[in-house]
């Protein structure tokens, strides 16, 4: 106390005050940044006082009461963990146990590649962190490369590779007229890209469109990517959410592995284990051999160290507790299927309601599309009307998060969509 008074006495010294007064802010020229198009939606929703408000913005699962869900297997894992663990630093590459279990999900329970230790893998900050680490790694070790990103894609993909200073190009993906895949144009873009380009692929449940290639189409995509020597990087944020079966949802990745690609994968537990805010994920890079995997992993760690030193432990321990216990893992698989099935049910309900209202438009795409999102085809103006007149919140690209639809609000939602589109 005495010290502080003495100090403030000294602060009244003229020179100090004068110096401070003539300094203007360094940040006067800083422009206010635009709101994040996705996360800004929830902010607006929370601020809305209307009792009818509906949030179909951000891709976070809700139960049929519109409430967020903590999986039972997660609660059980936390009960086992609490009070038993210290909070020491993880290694830079994160929890070895968690990474091991995570690779099995993507590459296969009995994958030879895992046994041969050919996969360089580190725990990452959910899907975002995994993509960013890869983008930084790509920049450092293939500095002349560029990334091809589908149109459309999750908005943050563009930010990630931009901040990593990797030049971006786009490839055709969504076909607005059919509300399906623009397959021919996508293949053309793969063929026309310079040899050795990097391609970002959504492993399943494409965000925001929900449009996935069929198995045959994936085989062709794999063939053409191989022919051009491109690098395939998979963002898998919804394993388990697309079909309800994680093995099925990894099909595209398994096809590429069979075909001999050396892929990279970003995996996230945000949605399929409901661990959103825990920021748990994994980045893996398949290498030629164990020696190279060791080298690549060490370099990934060199990128993580100056970003956050080592990843957070809590979420990782939840994951490894669940996946390494056969009963808990079984329970998890059940709970994932419940979530996926509820979403599939809501797709059917929304489409059914719109058709019942006699909408002149086709709403087939609602049930054709896969995963958490429906690319409704609504225009930004129609979305604005939904928000302003009906208190319905979604991103302006017309993406509806089906997880936010419930038996309680599906009629209201269908009505509103019908109103703005009839």
């Amino acid at each position: 106390m005495a010290i502080r008074r003495a100090m403030s006495g000294r602060i009244m010294d003229r020179t100090a005050v004068v110096g401070a007064r003539y300094m203007s802010s360094w940040w006067r020229s800083v422009q206010p940044a635009p709101k994040d198009p996705i996360l800004g939606v929830t902010e607006a929703f929370l601020a809305d006082q209307s009792p009818d408000k509906v949030n179909v913005g951000v891709g976070a699962y809700r139960d049929d009461n519109g409430k967020p869900v903590v999986l039972e297997c997660v609660r059980e894992a936390e009960r086992r963990i609490a009070g038993n663990l210290n909070m020491e630093y993880l290694p830079m590459g994160g929890s070895v146990k968690m990474v091991e279990e995570t690779l099995k999900l993507a590459y296969g329970e009995n994958s030879e590649l895992i046994k041969e230790k050919r996969i360089a893998a580190v725990q990452a900050l959910s899907g975002t962190g995994a993509c960013r680490l890869f983008a930084d790694f790509q920049k450092r070790f293939c500095p002349d490369s560029q990334i091809y990103i589908p149109v459309p894609t999750w908005a943050n993909h563009h930010n990630i590779w931009r901040d990593a200073q990797v030049p971006q190009k786009t490839y055709h993906y969504y076909h607005p007229e059919s509300k399906g895949l623009d397959f021919a144009a996508m293949i053309d873009d793969i063929k026309n890209a310079p040899n050795g380009s990097f391609f970002l692929l959504h492993a399943c449940a494409h965000n925001p469109t929900g449009v996935d290639p069929s198995e045959e189409q994936w085989r062709e995509i794999s063939h053409h990517i191989k022919a051009k020597g491109h690098f395939a990087f998979f963002d898998m944020a919804y394993q388990g959410f697309a079909s309800g079966d994680p093995e099925k949802d990894a099909k595209a990745i398994r096809i590429f592995l069979e075909d001999g690609h050396h892929i990279g994968i970003a995996q996230s537990y945000a949605k399929n284990m409901g661990l959103y805010g825990q920021r748990v994920g994994c980045l893996s890079v398949l290498c030629e051999d164990e020696k190279q995997a060791v080298a690549v992993k060490s370099q990934l760690q060199q990128l993580a160290r100056p970003m956050y030193s080592n990843p957070p432990v809590h979420g990782a321990v939840i994951v490894s507790t669940i996946l390494s216990d056969p009963d808990l893992k079984k329970q998890w698989l059940k709970e994932v299927k419940v979530m996926a099935d509820r979403i599939i049910g809501m797709r059917t309900a929304l489409r059914g309601n719109l058709e019942k209202l006699g909408s002149p438009l086709s709403w087939q795409h609602i049930t054709n599309q896969i995963g958490m999102f429906c690319y409704s085809g609504l225009t930004p103006e129609q979305v604005d009307r939904l928000t302003n007149e009906f208190h319905i919140y979604m991103t302006r690209n017309g993406r509806i998060s089906m997880a936010g639809v419930t038996t309680g609000n599906v009629k209201y939602l269908a009505n509103a969509i019908h109103e703005v589109t009839k």
């Binding site: 802010s25 020491e88 990630i160 080298a295 809590h314």
Partner: protein, 452 residues
């Protein structure tokens, strides 16, 4: 034919290295292209060449590598004095009682969910963290001139702050003290700043080279960023006195140098949270701007939970709000939003006055144990008549002692006495106990008398 060469990283700055790196990049591209031309016609099949085959293995992290080596050693008397993580008298990691309590409360609260936090993290966490470091009565807080965002511990806070500066600040050079935490230069370089050093530590006195510091900061270009360790300098344990801090402040403000504080040990230096924040509060009191990276890794023992905060003190409230919006643009493509668990523990503790008091008591106990280890080691060396002046052991502050031992002596101590420490002679006092002090004193005595 795949040439092995060093990664084209940005850490070396000599022009020869730059030319070499440029050449290396051309070679990489050329070899990729030739492989492509040969291997990638549709009929030739896939030869399984990785585009990352040129990647070489990175060296072990010098600090974390110490623990790796320690773990391999079978000796029953081995001692790990490497990484700065607190240990009890029994040599065990410590989870504070108040942290366990908070954990249990969170677990029992069935209404808690694991949803995404906002990009800037938990609002209450940010407010409480700002209060903790700037003081509850800070004018900057009262006037809404501070923006605080939750980040991944100290490292993450430094990185986010540095990325913001690289984008929005007119000066892209940061001055860091010589020596400093090994990870500092990498954090700033990768963020896009260029790194210079200022004199700080005097090996002959094992204290501050204050003249050198004033000269180097005095000759820095106006507006340059300056990294300051708020207290308990890592690795030296040498802190400026309050008078010296005042001189630093005046010099920096007269040259419009921007302070970037790294506060990783608040409460650990003196045992008192407010005292350890004096340097920062001095700067804030003059109305000027600064950056502060805060970590809860050590003082709340939350290490692996990665809890920290970046605060930017601005001259006006509307500026603070604009700065926050731009910080979000740095964070979103890096990790989207921060981890919830550790920050929730911090909020639980800081907002409850009983738990807060409990915390300050446990924190003081940790700091006191370290201070007692310092005294014991100093006494042990005196009792052995070890040549040299070892008073720096009790003068230095915080978790570390910069012993002054050279790398040969360190190597000797590892080989003959199974003592693990970083090669710069830094020991983590937190790794010592009353039982192990004699062993360390023997090792230092032997090193000093048998190796120079």
């Amino acid at each position: 034919m795949r040439p092995e060469f060093a990664s084209p990283s940005s850490s070396s700055s000599s022009s020869a290295d730059r030319r070499l790196n440029a050449l290396v990049r051309h070679l990489a591209t050329a070899s990729m292209v030739s492989q492509t031309a040969v291997a990638f016609s549709p009929t030739s099949g896939f030869h399984g060449d990785s585009v990352f085959s040129h990647v070489v293995r990175a060296p072990e992290d010098p600090i974390l590598g110490v623990t790796v080596a320690y773990n391999k050693d079978p000796s029953p008397v081995k001692l790990n004095l490497g990484v700065g993580a607190y240990r009890t008298e029994e040599g065990k990691p410590l989870v504070l009682n108040v942290v366990r309590k908070a954990e249990q409360m969170l677990l029992n609260d069935k209404s808690r969910v694991k949803e995404y936090l906002p990009i800037v993290g938990i609002a209450e966490f940010n407010k409480l963290s700002a209060k903790l470091i700037f003081g509850a009565d800070s004018p900057a807080i009262r006037e809404n001139r501070v923006t605080t965002v939750q980040c991944l511990s100290g490292t993450g806070s430094l990185r986010v702050g540095a990325e913001f500066l690289a984008r929005h600040y007119h000066q892209k050079t940061i001055y860091i003290p010589q020596p400093t935490w090994g990870n500092h230069p990498k954090v700033f370089t990768l963020a896009g700043l260029s790194v210079k050093t200022y004199r700080y530590y005097d090996p002959t006195t094992r204290g501050m080279n204050f003249q050198g510091l004033l000269e180097d900061l005095g000759s820095a270009p106006s507006g340059s960023i300056v990294l300051l360790h708020a207290c308990a300098h890592n690795p030296t344990g040498v802190d400026p006195t309050l008078q010296q801090w005042e001189q630093i402040r005046q010099l920096m403000r007269s040259k419009a140098l921007l302070p970037f504080f790294d506060s990783a040990y608040q409460g650990f230096a003196s045992g008192n949270l407010d005292e350890d924040a004096q340097s920062i509060r001095m700067f804030v009191a003059d109305g000027g701007e600064c950056f502060v990276a805060q970590s809860y890794a050590k003082n709340m023992g939350l290490y692996g939970e990665r809890v920290g905060a970046l605060s930017v003190v601005c001259r006006a409230a509307n500026v603070a709000s604009k700065v926050e919006s731009q910080l979000k643009l740095v964070i979103r493509p890096m990790f989207s939003n921060p981890p919830i668990h550790g920050a929730s523990i911090v909020v639980t503790i800081l907002k409850d006055s009983n738990m807060f008091n409990e915390w300050t008591i446990e924190l003081k106990a940790m700091a006191d144990r370290i201070i007692s280890m310092r005294k014991q080691l100093f006494d042990a060396l005196r009792a052995r008549g070890t040549p040299g002046d070892w008073s720096h052991i009790i003068k230095q502050i915080g978790m570390f002692t910069f012993t002054g031992l050279n790398s040969k002596q360190v190597e000797f101590m590892t080989r003959e006495y199974h003592i693990y420490m970083t090669s710069d002679g830094r020991i983590s006092m937190a790794g010592l106990s009353s039982k192990t002090v004699p062993h360390l004193a023997d090792a230092i005595h032997a090193a000093v008398t048998r190796m120079s």
